[in-house]
Symmetry: D2
Subunit: 449 residues, 4 copies
């Protein structure tokens, strides 16, 4: 059976991931993501109303025109998890394919919301839920799609595995190797090791190289949790305002914030459009069991009403968890820093960034401005209380050891980002040009002729 | 009562700490430390045989000649904890003063060992033990010396407080604000707050500015412990060699390593002269309760014999904890990396650095070399599993809030290092030249005329 | 005669410089500057219409309320050169003092323009021109004000020296030690050495510490010129667009750009409001002799008309020199990068940044965005063709050697920035608290009681 | 005609360069270099006595065993210039090939000296001189070898071009695009452009990617020269010691140092084994015309005798140019810093580093130590007076434009180092896997089957 892999997007950047695997006549697409930074660099762009081709030209969504070179039928579109760089182009591209979107329940829900927000295209693909540990048949030639449960900075993440007669194709984006996550099960390394030892073994492994130039092991979410606990507990005696911010989609982290807020005698409240969206969704789908009195508010009016209530009832009784961890100009925390909300910061009030600045000068500049504005109001800043959601080098080492793939394709970075992974794999006996396929967007790699 | 403070050493560097406080006619000396880097930059220097004046000229020990300008009698020499930069000059300088060395039991034991190693001077000062929470009278004019228990990267650390009729002098070197240390009690913030509210309050606070340019809060040792647990547990299934290194004097960290080694089914063993020294001392004094079968070996012969035994019985059964976390050329780990010990590293063996590289080009070069040599042997490196022992900015903020001192003196850094502290204190209403005393080595500051 | 120095602004930052020196009853004010970054962090602030007190509260202009503690009469306001951080608050503060503004001709002209732009206050101080090398009498007690010619990144810069019966006060902001500047004479080191050897010598030296943490010697403008020549000559054969940007006030650099443009067969043209302002002023005052056909256009309409002409006549015949070297969002180059001007960038077009990014995250973010946008249009970027206008450590060393001042006051930085200078001076025998006066904004230093 | 390229060494590192090109049955080898850092990391290694295989195992010299996979006869060994990473393995590997070494006169002389120093192997290959601009025939099938003159940080550098019936193979290591070098002609860009436009054009270009991640254009040697002039002229009035250090093989730089020493009234003198070697060779071969009284001393005895003479006759009359610009522990400058030579450094003496620290932690550590030791003796340090010898991105852009090669192979870096070049080439329409051949050591690339 011919096996071919199209590296459509996310092979020159972190963002707009999209990969297609053809096994005989059956094609499965993994991820359809958005590169938000390519949108934001332009003033006043509203993606909801834009045409795909314009977004492709901007480098914002994958250039899927190469799909016409792949002979076969798309049988499924499989986003691995609910981050925008993996699902953000579904509303712009999925309608071109006569295939269902297959994903875990939480991811499907986020895809559904995204499609509902789309204003240019009518996207009517079926949305099919499949959980980690489950499988489905693809086409009629013995190809099977399996979801292996993994751990990432969003819940309900999986690595899809396409079992073919030639061996398994493991699509390894995005994960860290977490044996003590705060929510859901640890990563299913047992299953990966089994797949590595099965009859045909692993034909090809496509790997998340986000942190491939970083040494060591990405810590468990539990380490971030203990760090966060240490920070919040240290504020137990403070009788003024405490505000926290983190990635809205990071449900485990939000859960820890909510829990520790309670522990130190404060009422947590989630504020900001995407805070409400992700946490609300997680709660509705029963992934978390938030306290019944936990408020979540997204619309500006209800947020401001909540801030007023907090000011009336006493800041010392609340812990608002807000958007704005990167200093985004229009996010909640930046508005607070500019004094544009009813919440007043006083000397000594604490602001907890449970996030790391994404290391890119634009973010660094915005975050710096936000911190300066917070500082002008007397706020005290606690930052970098975070662990990454992506494997570092020792995780890559362990994955190669578990899967023993015959071919590997580095993804989710540019060439500089791949370099640490290629070095590592070369030391393990792989060879660039032979079984390490270093590539860029828009290539077809023939694995089995 | 006149109060004068002599900033003898450690006000232009991290190292060779020494401060004298005169209250009326009674003088107490805090710390007498060594700046090891000033020794190591020269080839073939053996401090044990050197004269004080030569070491002073080298910038290795404090220049205590300024003590002759202080009118009064030295009543006590008070090292705050057992690190070399606080006790390392006692063997060279203490004999000049007719006063006992007063310190906590663990510190006293380390001072005793140091004096025994001295070959140039006979040091015969009394060694007096006093624990955190205890006090003693100094002289006849109502001056009292109290030890407040603090948390640092070595056990049995205290902050000495000299209670005078004019208010308390708090000598704040070195500490972090740890509410969940692994060994001993949390920092005694309750007592600091009491001292801040007492009748005369705090006249002067001398502060450890090591990390004064770093934002946020120094995490608890518990955070490093959970990080270390995550790393070691992730290696549970590995059936080859695992080696760890950390600061020998960091008894909490060594304890965690020993405990997690057991958890993953390996026999821990401590190797290297200073590993044996510090852990042996801690065990003898009952600060830790190591497993009865824990081996500690310092002499090269017994270390090599142990390595041979490990190789014979199977590396997969052991976890050697060795010296060499900074890549020091003659330390155990560097010798292992060079293949100079019987322990053979194989492809995939793990080396855990539970330490951060001290950010200075010499260390960075040596550590880089050590890691390159380890890598040539196939070892996998896990580094930076560590938290600092020194307050960051939010700790400083809390200490000022607790103590409300009338004067502050930044210490344990150079001017660039002080700058973050001065900024912080200025924002709190202090003013340089009025109540912030930014100084250098060798000055006398008159606090009360 | 009592000598007192008020450190009003620019002792905690680079920006809003202001220092007053009282000699007996006569007071001279050096500089009245603006800290632009304190303005820009707020949205939509128009300083022209703002009241002084609001600008003081924002940290944008010096807080001169301390002047009421100085007993005496202000006899002169002396800006050292025409940069905004030295003259930018004159329109907001000068009218409070019954004293003339005394400065070099180029500086006076820039002050005049600034006053004309002011919309809140009527500033009617006399504007008095005095050139480098000249002197004037201040008051009736033997105090003399001398201007020593120095070299900086703007022309007609001086260091004012106040000769008093107690010795000279040398106000050393801002300069580098340039022996081969492109315009005007080299720095007058001979005069500094004379002043250092005169009867009363130098009582106090206030020093520009901008680069005090940088090793070595700031290169001459001639080095930047040869670098720039190398870059532009290398483009001689290119037949598309070349655009350059630099500091508008940097007349020497603009002159070199103009000259090299001609050398490679292109018509230079200066575009952008401040380009026109500074170069036009320099030409009117005969500081430069630009080619008679050199166009300078400031208003958007005439700029756009020029761009259209360039596109019509062929980009390959022109070299526009534009504003926007820091990626400022509204500057000309950023507009070009966004495609908002008639000038179209093509693949391979060259953009020359004869400037260094000011190392602050906001600038770095904006500049990064500008370069990304330029790159999207195919432009090739040549950056960092620049030398600083401020002394590095060896310049400071030489100044101390020349002046042999009895007191020194570091300025034009914050404490971290001062640290390199204090280290250097301490090595030369000065001592903090005795003759090195490290201070912050708003202090009075009594030099002679 | 089949064309095949073997990437033997220098494709994973900067060092041990070696590439073989097979055109039909004729093979030409370009470079045979040494990676010195792989030697120095081990203690006490003497390469002169070592066997090739051991040096290959250490990663110190190229692993040329892949040559047996190339069917054909080696016709020439062509080192491009005299740096060790290009000629340093000739004494270990050349004797295996029955072929002459063909190089420019200066390079041949350095090869000869290296072979004379070899103690393990007898190397008897013919040494054939050919200058830039000349050609020779290779084999009997219309293959021609041409040397195009280029500019680098050593004189007499060329880029060899192998003209084949299929087009030219341009071996582009190492160069910068210098239009105003201090010695010899500018780079022969005219010839490169001709080759790019010839009938068959350029089949393949192998490029020096050392600086491929650096923006802009590498400045001309003339820029470094003017920088150096500025520094040394600024010391004209200093009446104590001035010492300079630079790369010994950098004859242009040494020439500038010698000239400027004279200009400021000092007698230059070259000290250190490699200073004598390179400058002596350049003078004997008439590449430079040093002043007749210029002393060059290599042996320690004569160096120390010279230092004694300098001390006797007055340091203020001399400018020693010595080895040790990277702080190498045994180099002359480090010995001076440790006080191990008769030359005594006094307070205020100047040390000029006309070199940049090679950015690797080992060098950075050693250089830091050297500067600290110099500082302890009162020396003032002027560093980074240098420009690189390698193309930055805009040079790469221009070379692609000139040559228009059909295939490109990035070399002289590792994958991370290649990334900037691949990005640039991709923007120019090349595609990885199609005509950009990103590779590692030990691969065969078939360009024409």
């Amino acid at each position: 059976m011919e096996i071919e892999i199209a590296t459509i997007g996310g092979y020159e950047e972190v963002g707009r991931q999209m990969t297609a695997v053809r096994a005989g006549n059956d094609i499965v697409i993994f991820d359809m993501g958005l590169n938000l930074s390519q949108v934001l660099i332009h003033d006043n762009v509203e993606t909801e109303r834009m045409h795909s081709l314009d977004l492709i030209d901007m480098g914002a969504i994958p250039d899927d025109r190469i799909m016409s070179d792949l002979e076969g039928d798309v049988k499924a579109i499989v986003p691995t998890h609910g981050h925008l760089d993996h699902i953000g182009a579904i509303s712009k591209l999925a309608h071109r394919y006569d295939a269902p979107v297959v994903a875990t329940p939480f991811t499907i829900e986020l895809v559904k919301q995204q499609i509902e927000g789309e204003q240019k295209f009518g996207v009517e693909n079926d949305l099919v839920k499949m959980s980690g540990g489950e499988s489905m048949t693809i086409g009629d030639h013995g190809v099977e799609l399996e979801f292996v449960h993994v751990t990432h900075s969003i819940i309900d993440a999986i690595n899809p595995v396409l079992h073919t007669p030639e061996g398994a194709i493991v699509y390894g984006l995005d994960k860290r190797m977490d044996h003590s996550p705060v929510i859901q099960d640890p990563i299913d390394m047992k299953r990966f090791r089994e797949i590595g030892r099965e009859d045909n073994g692993v034909l090809c492994y496509i790997e998340d190289c986000t942190n491939a130039n970083k040494k060591g092991r990405t810590p468990s979410e539990n380490v971030a949790r203990e760090h966060l606990r240490d920070v919040l507990y240290s504020m137990e005696d403070y009788d003024g305002g405490i505000v926290a911010t983190t990635f809205s989609s990071h449900i485990s982290r939000v859960t820890s914030l909510v829990e520790f807020a309670k522990d130190i005698g404060r009422q947590p409240v989630l504020l900001g459009r995407s805070m409400e969206k992700y946490s609300g969704t997680a709660e509705r789908l029963d992934f978390v069991d938030f306290p019944s009195d936990l408020g979540m508010f997204g619309h500006r009016k209800s947020v401001d009403r909540t801030f007023k209530r907090i000011m009336n009832e006493g800041k010392e009784n609340f812990l608002p968890v807000v958007t704005g961890h990167q200093g985004e100009p229009r996010a909640m925390l930046t508005r607070m820093a500019r004094g544009e909300t009813p919440y007043e910061l006083d000397d000594g009030d604490k602001v907890v960034f449970s996030a790391r600045v994404i290391p890119e000068p634009t973010n660094e500049g915005q975050r710096y401005q936000a911190e300066r504005l917070l500082g002008m109001q007397g706020a005290r800043v606690y930052d970098e209380i975070h662990v990454s959601g992506h494997l570092c080098q020792e995780g890559h080492y362990e994955m190669l050891d578990a899967l023993q793939p015959r071919h590997i394709i580095p993804a989710h970075q540019d060439l500089k980002g791949f370099s640490g992974y290629v070095d590592l794999a070369s030391n393990q006996g792989y060879q660039m040009g032979r079984d390490i396929h270093v590539t860029r967007n828009g290539n077809l790699i023939s694995i089995v002729d």
